[in-house]
């Protein structure tokens, strides 16, 4: 049995539909016991122009079927990324997209300019949806004009694929999705974490030092499937489904809902081999259905 899992996802031909989600796979060098064969692509941990210390601890707390995180985009800054990680990426047999962040549209553009053309950088995922930074982040993602402005600023600086990671914290994701499409995005990642809070009844304070955090994990999956589906049917560019995927069936829900590919995130924390399990399970499902390729999978995608 051989099933062709290759997909076209926003300007990239991927050998498989399973992508490592930003912030859950470091820079691709940290996850132990990694089965690289299963990776369609990797989206790096979010990076800014300059190094960032991140938020004070506690940064994470487990919640029912999920977790809240407020890491705060800790990172070494773009120069260290170019020096320490890009040369390794250049040797890998799958593409690495850099998750890029800024406090202004100009900063996103400047970061893109610094990374464009660096060997190892295959594309960009614009983070306009991080709930855990004081400046920028989610602010850009819940205003269609700001989201378009950031997308356009990145688009002007590169011909590489540009994806935009959307926040679920909006009243109509279709409006933001279309704004990003019109501003030149090649694909959309839907969705980033939901903003949540957990209170310690002993201290009567939030459990996270940042007070709020981004909720991820199986708890958000039905919400994510719905929002990814809404985004997918409102644009022509591919949508990458993200949110609580742990099993092959979870991923297949997003694919049937109209997504071109999926990202696996939090599941990797518990199981370093989660991506490979999802990848192999998708192939098994398609084979059991008598399908020779992922492209033959029927989609539920009524257009507006």
């Amino acid at each position: 049995m051989s099933v062709d899992l290759a997909v076209d996802a926003g300007g990239l031909r991927l050998r498989g539909p399973v992508i490592a989600a930003s912030g859950t796979f470091g820079y691709g060098t940290e996850v132990p016991l990694l089965e690289r064969r299963a990776l369609g692509a990797l989206v790096s941990k979010g990076i800014f122009l300059r190094p960032r210390a991140g938020n004070p601890p506690p940064r994470i707390v487990e919640t029912p079927s999920g977790m809240l995180n407020a890491i705060g985009l800790q990172g070494p800054g773009v120069e260290a990324l170019v020096r320490d990680y890009c040369p390794q990426w250049a040797a890998w047999d799958f593409p690495v997209l850099v998750n890029i962040n800024g406090e202004s549209a100009e900063e996103y553009g400047e970061l893109t300019g610094r990374l464009d053309g660096v060997p190892g950088v295959a594309g960009f995922e614009i983070n306009v949806s991080c709930p855990n930074v004081e400046q920028g982040g989610m602010y850009f993602g819940n205003d269609p004009r700001a989201a378009a402005e950031v997308t356009a600023a990145v688009r002007r600086r590169t011909r590489l694929p540009v994806w935009v990671k959307l926040t679920p914290m909006v009243s109509d994701i279709a409006v933001i999705a279309r704004a990003c499409e019109e501003a030149g995005a090649d694909a959309l990642s839907a969705i980033n974490t939901f903003v949540g809070m957990s209170i310690d009844l002993h201290t009567r304070k939030p459990r996270l030092a940042f007070r709020t955090g981004g909720l991820s994990g199986p708890a958000i999956r039905p919400l994510a499937v719905h929002l990814a589906h809404q985004a997918a049917r409102s644009v022509r560019i591919p949508v990458i489904g993200v949110g609580g995927i742990t099993t092959p069936d979870d991923a297949l829900e997003f694919l049937v809902a109209g997504c071109a590919a999926v990202q696996v995130g939090t599941a990797t924390f518990a199981d370093p081999r989660a991506l490979a399990r999802v990848h192999d399970g998708i192939a098994g499902h398609l084979a059991a259905q008598g399908l020779g390729s992922l492209a033959e999978l029927p989609r539920y995608l009524q257009h507006d």
Partner: protein, 253 residues
């Protein structure tokens, strides 16, 4: 580092509060060093793994010690011989011992005793005289390990040994201090012995360096990861004011 499915091989209650669970994990048992931990996944069980210092390691078996305080540890306490769990480890940076010290104090608060059996093994192998200092709130929560070495007890309520903290009970003249326990105890260790090695407690996400959830604030600025650069630190390197003083579900508590 290994990821393996391990069978529960032994189970005992130690005192009124603590459980010791052993499981078959030959690769981990053969390579684990004092202060390192394993990250355990229970299915069915909570979303994330739970980190535990390795308590003993011999003949292909690894033991952990814990108290049933939350969802994960309560499930662990209900496991039976032959049940299976996923073990990831050994993880983290270990205690280092130096024969030049001549003697070493192993200072623990409550379940902070977890890494000290292996530390004592390594210290004796290096020819050091070992002094155990066990602290706890009450005699019932006190650890009693001594392995035949000198041992000092300290309880908050004075129900056994010296009344007061384990840190205050450490005899003068020891060559070095290794400590594990609540972070507020470790902060007191840092104030008295900047060069002490301490195993900190933090919440942990992945245990493998990816999620950046187990941030430890450093005196030099910024954060690093308890699961990679720690959990063992030089005491003076940690910014104790910025590290939460006590966590209910953390690695050693």
């Amino acid at each position: 580092m290994f990821e393996l499915t391990a069978e529960v091989a032994s189970f005992r209650q130690r005192g009124p509060h603590y459980w010791v669970m052993g499981f078959r994990a030959p690769e981990v048992a053969a390579s684990v060093r004092a202060g390192q931990f394993v990250n355990l996944l229970l299915r069915p069980g909570p979303l994330l793994r739970r980190p535990f210092s390795v308590y003993t390691a011999s003949a292909g078996e690894v033991e952990i010690i814990f108290r049933a305080v939350g969802e994960g540890t309560s499930l662990l306490a209900q496991m039976k011989i032959g049940d299976r769990l996923s073990v990831l480890g050994p993880l983290g940076r270990a205690f280092e011992v130096d024969p030049e010290w001549k003697s070493v104090a192993l200072v623990s608060g409550g379940l902070g005793v977890a890494p000290m059996l292996l530390a004592a093994r390594d210290a004796r192998a290096a020819g050091l005289r070992v002094v155990w200092v066990h602290g706890a709130r009450t005699a019932a929560e006190l650890s009693l390990e001594s392995g035949g070495d000198q041992v000092v007890y300290a309880t908050d309520d004075g129900s056994r040994g010296v009344q007061g903290s384990a840190v205050a009970a450490v005899p003068e003249g020891v060559g070095a201090v290794l400590a594990c326990g609540p972070n507020r105890m470790l902060a007191a260790v840092a104030a008295r012995w900047p060069d002490a090695q301490v195993a900190v407690e933090t919440y942990m996400g992945c245990g493998t360096g990816v999620c950046l959830g187990c941030a430890v604030p450093l005196r030099a600025g910024g954060y690093d990861r308890a699961c990679q650069e720690g959990p063992v630190y030089r005491a003076a390197a940690v910014d104790w004011d910025a590290l939460p003083s006590h966590l209910q579900y953390a690695v050693s508590a």
